[in-house]
């Protein structure tokens, strides 16, 4: 009789085991994306990137021009 009760308690107790671990989902930035604000950040980053690369291209063409002039 006692063995049966103990067995039942253990089995029912196992139902609550998952909640002991960090079973909640890992927080990611989904809320940030859902509100659409994320794409503003992305656009800002891309604008800055394109700006830096345009500057680099401009420098490159400037140096090419001077090199051509010196070659003559």
């Amino acid at each position: 009789m006692m063995k049966r009760i103990a067995f039942l308690v253990l089995v029912i107790g196992c139902v609550f085991l998952p909640s002991l671990s960090n079973a909640q989902t890992v927080e990611m930035a989904d809320q940030f994306r859902a509100e659409g604000k994320f794409f503003v950040v992305l656009a800002v980053i891309i604008v800055i990137l394109i700006g830096i690369f345009s500057y680099l291209f401009m420098l490159d063409t400037k140096i090419s021009k001077i090199e051509k002039r010196l070659k003559k």
Binding site: A29, L49, L59, E67, L70
Partner: protein
């Protein structure tokens, strides 16, 4: 503009890796959360640094054997870009560490090794600045470079793996490829690597060309 195909490729790869790096789905892991995306930016800094320092090392050897000053210029400018990437790598690593480990710096083999490696190359620049004669400067700096590069590799890549380290990929800590780095993450990761390496090479070539022009104008 000279040889523009790889420069266009560089821009395309970097813009792609920035957009995809921020937008594409990543595995949801505890502690890291969204910062796992730093994999696409922090790690390529170090790949870029290593590649540029390989270039600097090779051109140092080439300078010693041939004596052409152009090789010396490439060696120093490649080292310059390498150190720039290294500083950015350390700064981005510190930000990431503050977020995940709770401190900007820990007494960790990998971190200390990275700092020491950077100091060795800073000593390279101090050495260059201290010698007046161009040929002597080139020769002594090239020898220093040839010694410091293998030391740098041993410090950053070999030593941390021999001991316990908090940094991913070293001493008992699984690298990110253990966390099911599926093909999509790999594509973005290698695009970013190649993109930043090409960017480093591009800026190096620009600086060398500038030096060449200055030398020509002085004559």
């Amino acid at each position: 503009m000279k040889n523009s195909w790889w420069k266009v490729l560089c821009v395309l790869l970097l813009v792609y890796s920035f957009i995809a790096g921020l937008v594409s789905p990543v595995p949801a892991l505890p502690i890291l959360n969204e910062t796992i995306r730093n994999l696409y930016f922090h790690v390529p800094m170090w790949f870029g640094m290593t590649f540029l320092l390989i270039i600097s090392f090779s051109y140092s050897i080439a300078y010693l054997s041939s004596g052409k000053h152009k090789y010396d210029w490439v060696a120093v400018e490649a080292a310059n870009m390498g150190i720039t990437f290294g500083i950015l790598g350390i700064l981005t690593g510190m930000l990431w560490a503050k977020n995940t480990w709770g401190a900007y710096w820990t007494s960790d083999p990998k971190l200390n090794a990275a700092a020491i490696g950077m100091l060795i190359y800073l000593a390279y620049f101090v050495l260059r600045g201290s010698i007046e004669d161009e040929t002597q400067r080139g020769r002594i700096a090239a020898i220093f470079n040839i010694f410091s590069f293998p030391t740098f590799i041993a410090l950053i890549y070999i030593m941390p793996r021999l001991t316990d380290s908090l940094h991913p990929g070293n001493g008992g800590n699984p690298g990110f490829n253990a966390y099911d780095r599926d093909r999509e993450m790999n594509i973005i990761f290698y695009s970013a690597n190649i993109g930043f390496i090409l960017l480093g090479i591009w800026i190096t070539t620009l600086r060398v060309r500038l030096k060449k022009i200055e030398e020509q104008l002085e004559d």
